[in-house]
Amino acid sequence: MATERIVIVGAGQAGGRAAEALRREGYKGELLLFGDEPHEPYERPALSKGVLVGQAAAKSTLIHPREWYAAQSIELRTGLRIEAIAPQSRNLITADGRAVEYSKLLLCTGSRVRPLTIAPDGMRGVYYLRTIPESETLRRALADCRSLVVIGGGFIGLEVASSAAQLGIAVTVVERQPALLDRALPAGIASQVERLHRSRGVAIELSSRATSIAGGDTVKAVVLEDGRELPADVVVIGIGVIPNTELAEAAGARSSDGVVVDEYCRTSLPELYAAGDVTSHYNPILGRHIRLESWQNAQNQAIAAARNLLGAEKPYAEVPWFWSDQYDCNIQLAGVVEPGLEIVWRGERQGAKCMAFGVLAGKVRLAVAFNAGGELRFARRLVEFGAQVPSASLANPAVKLKELVPEAAPRSLAA
């Protein structure tokens, strides 16, 4: 094609940040951003917290107002699905049947909520939470709710539980695994979060499976495997997400629990890149592919993709980092959970602040900060550098983490 045209499919946080980065890095060609949601790109974290309890407006989650995109010569088309990619001719087919040619294509198609098979279709009072409209609908539902059952003890479920408990609602969290946050934290650290919720009056049902949701038009209760019925005015299902890989797969891109990309955000097809939730990406620090569902990854992998689209050849290599706000507790994680981690606590577990480390063969692989976000910066470096640190030093709050960070260049954990 005569003029250069980069097209981004998916106008969530990743798509929005990629578009922003392309312009910031000096890209002057045409730039199109397609999203199937009606909104401009927005950040989702507040939807289960500030927006849900009415403390923040949904609009405050927008990355930029709509006029910003026009001012940046970014053609933003929302509420429009892309049906197909024709990689040979470098065309997209939109839901309204038009072909759009591209010189380079970035997929930021994100993920969608995993449906709970036992949930009856269309029963009032049963909700998922991912989008702005879903957050606003749930906020209205919580206004008249006395008993909430949350199915799924992951971050989204626990943030909803925290928000609802603070609104004075009786909350029960049902989790199939024997510990909360099973995919994110070792059980020995997750117990800290369990204690936090129990201290706020939230009931936690571990190793417990919901077998049906009872009610007619409107939900009445969640029935557990052991036969107990948990009365509920509102049920929120938060059992994970599924990456939206279909568009890439249909085009022939390699996919395995996410669209497979390398550290430069390149898929297996020419001129086709991907970033954000949808990717299973090679992380050079971990030495393997990983799929992440995080704010950090949505933003920073998208920025890395934008730079690589423009030929930077700079790898995306960050220690996975995640945060959650529950009650008055800011929880931050750096690194990933893996089997066999030895847990080292730093600071009083009952106190306002503390940290926990997951150590493997003397190296810090995971750090968790409870109201200690400032410390996490150094903990991230410990993970990044694969630092050998004596557990006694980690456990001693008098030893500054900063002083444990080696001066040497970071090296791969895989090395």
Partner: protein, 103 residues
């Protein structure tokens, strides 16, 4: 603009920050590269005290979502922060520290 004497500057180590309230304003008093800076202590992204965060290379980083601000100019250094924080002049005289706050 009024110069306000502040106590505690001697407790701010290099690449560290403390929280102060000066003339009713939340202020982070920071030291970076040996130099003292005073900036508004609340992140422009979401509510968080910047003094709980991290100081390095003339910038302060929010502990919640790691937005960074330049300590000299207050400028936001990139996503997720876009709006700057107010910065205040600092003066050290006869071992005493003063911060200038708009009235």
């Amino acid at each position: 603009m009024t110069w306000h004497p502040v106590a505690g500057a001697e407790n701010v180590g290099d690449e560290e920050a403390i929280a102060l309230e000066i003339a009713g304003k939340p202020v982070a008093l920071c030291r970076s590269g040996g130099r003292l800076y005073a900036v508004h202590n609340i992140c422009t992204h979401q509510f968080a005290l910047l003094s709980e965060g991290y100081v390095e290379d003339g910038c302060i980083e929010c502990p919640l979502h790691q937005g960074r601000f330049n300590l000299e100019t207050g400028a936001a250094q990139g996503a997720p922060v876009t709006d700057p924080i107010p910065v205040y002049e600092v003066r050290v005289e006869d071992g005493k520290t003063y911060v200038r706050i708009p009235d």
